[in-house]
Subunit: 399 residues, 2 copies
Amino acid sequence: MKIGIIGLGTVGEGVLKVLVKEKESIFEKSRAKVEVKYACDLNINRDFSFDFDKSILIDDYKKVIADPEIKIVVELIGGETLAKTIITEAFRAKKSVVTANKALIAKHGVELFQIAKENGVSFLFEAAVGGGIPIVTPLMESLVANTITEIRGIMNGTSNYILTKMKNENLSFDEALKIASEKGYAEADPTYDVDGIDAGHKINILASLAYGGSIKFKDMQLKGIRDISTIDIFAANQLDSTIKLIASSKLFSETSAQISVEPTVVSNNRILSKVDDVYNAIETIGSYTDKTLFYGKGAGMNPTASAVVADIVKIVTRNHIESDYFFNSTKVFEIVDSNTIKSSYYIRVSDDFDIEKSPFEVEDKIENYYIILAENISKNEIDEIIKDAKEKLVLKILK
Amino acid sequence: MKIGIIGLGTVGEGVLKVLVKEKESIFEKSRAKVEVKYACDLNINRDFSFDFDKSILIDDYKKVIADPEIKIVVELIGGETLAKTIITEAFRAKKSVVTANKALIAKHGVELFQIAKENGVSFLFEAAVGGGIPIVTPLMESLVANTITEIRGIMNGTSNYILTKMKNENLSFDEALKIASEKGYAEADPTYDVDGIDAGHKINILASLAYGGSIKFKDMQLKGIRDISTIDIFAANQLDSTIKLIASSKLFSETSAQISVEPTVVSNNRILSKVDDVYNAIETIGSYTDKTLFYGKGAGMNPTASAVVADIVKIVTRNHIESDYFFNSTKVFEIVDSNTIKSSYYIRVSDDFDIEKSPFEVEDKIENYYIILAENISKNEIDEIIKDAKEKLVLKILK
């Protein structure tokens, strides 16, 4: 089957490399014959790290869409404008699409799946969540018998790297971010990673898959790791816990779920607390399987390319993958306001807070802060009690 | 598609339950229509924990094989004699087979896959390894781009439960085995579980899948947990490590691999050290993905049924799954003798051993034993050095 890759950035180059180098072994394992007819990028006059037939390089994506021989378009340019146009045009030209574009799926998944369906083609995106970790296919296929009641995990490698550095080397957020930038793990503008937006895209996608409905991205509650201080890291350690940026979704009713991204105090008894550096891990609670967990590298050229190639092989070997159930436009999931749900919380307040008059007890005093553990209370209730404190931070606890 | 379940023990009853209760939701998610036409067992006049149309119950499996409407036979009687006959007859009657029978696949996989291939039908076995954990499909399909260089994991829930009890409650092997038996986690004859045979079946299957060859089960080196004492558990803890029964396979050359099951001193930095009770976890090192890990419940009615049902849905939605590459009879993998490979070892010898005359240093002395850590040495070399000691135990270390 002939395919065209559009976008030769890190992931695109990785996909081309894997398809060139592993052509024989992929055929041997899967009987899939994958031929890259076009590799398209605006900048094609550059060096590549491996050898291939340079005649496949083109700089006009429309040539890929217009070629009836091309059955699969691999969209790897990222972004939400041109990428959306390319994918839509590919579907209309009766081509299946493989992408790693999580922002696009989280925001426009319903619309794009609808167009794919109208044109009888497939739309796959294993690489959009968890990089090289097989999670989308296992969730959609291997766990098909289960109602997935909970999904939670560490889905952003950059923020996990920063939190790991903060803990292991006693660094501030800014210091750890600087190292992440120097190592190439953080973008010039790290907002997507450290403010929970990227993890938000991913949990949106997984929840949509698990529940077979659509979840409005803009209604989601996203909180990043900028406010985490070395005091919180230290205090969590005293509690035999580790602070992790956790993206989670919990089924509430047949039509509602509690979906959020927030830094969380995770008990060291949990495997999630041991997921360090740029690794990701996603756990699901299924009605029959109970807990399953998937762990691996959440980003990078090679792991992400591995996932994109698996999707390409899937389309080649199966022709069409039905995706009716997923990103269903008629079944819209309501997001329950997490702040109204009673839970266990870690609270850090500056010591101007009049703790004697509050219902709380001090767990620890670190520098000028009280550390408080509160049970069976909602975030809104806590916020009301501590509203007059000069400084405050409230984190959910995962025991 | 009409199917017949043969064997209504724990797993068989679970599969029937899931297919009856989740019929609608499975169809909604996958478009697979699965109809159980026969549920076959020698003992059908008994109570079941859920309602279903009892007219499907039969006690003669030959009726399932003889019915041309049946496209899938689900073999869940276990054992190696009748099960092999049933599967062979099913293939010859042009029916695909789903099974959880790890012993049968590990020992007769090559022969059975050959018969399946000759008859153009599928042979799936997700439930044979890791119970409810999706591992076979991810390994065969999601990681298709990768050369899998290493596989290791905790693949037997019973022995892991015993080791967890020994550590957490300071029990001897016999005491912990007794509790496992009382809880129903260990069979009357626990040999398969505690002597590494069950884990051996599983790593044999995973290695065959990963390398696309066949591995002779009888050539494998299997060592169980009977010799582990509370002293070893304590000594491992002092080394910030945990003893786990690790099944592993490491690619050595294009035609050879180091495959074994053995109790191993696993560093507490590793996630595998945190896998407790009846949970299983399997990690793979792929050429592109690097490390991925899959964790979940390795046994039990519901998790295992979830995996069997996923395989049934896979056949219904895809018709035929090519399995040419796997359990290839023409590509036989040679097993490298682990005892000749230099590694890091934990050694416990009784104090009659003349340590002064040996090349070893004492790491710790517990009761009448020396604890020794040895680097860059083979098991055979160690055995030669400590051959005169009255009592000895040598365990591999996984840092």
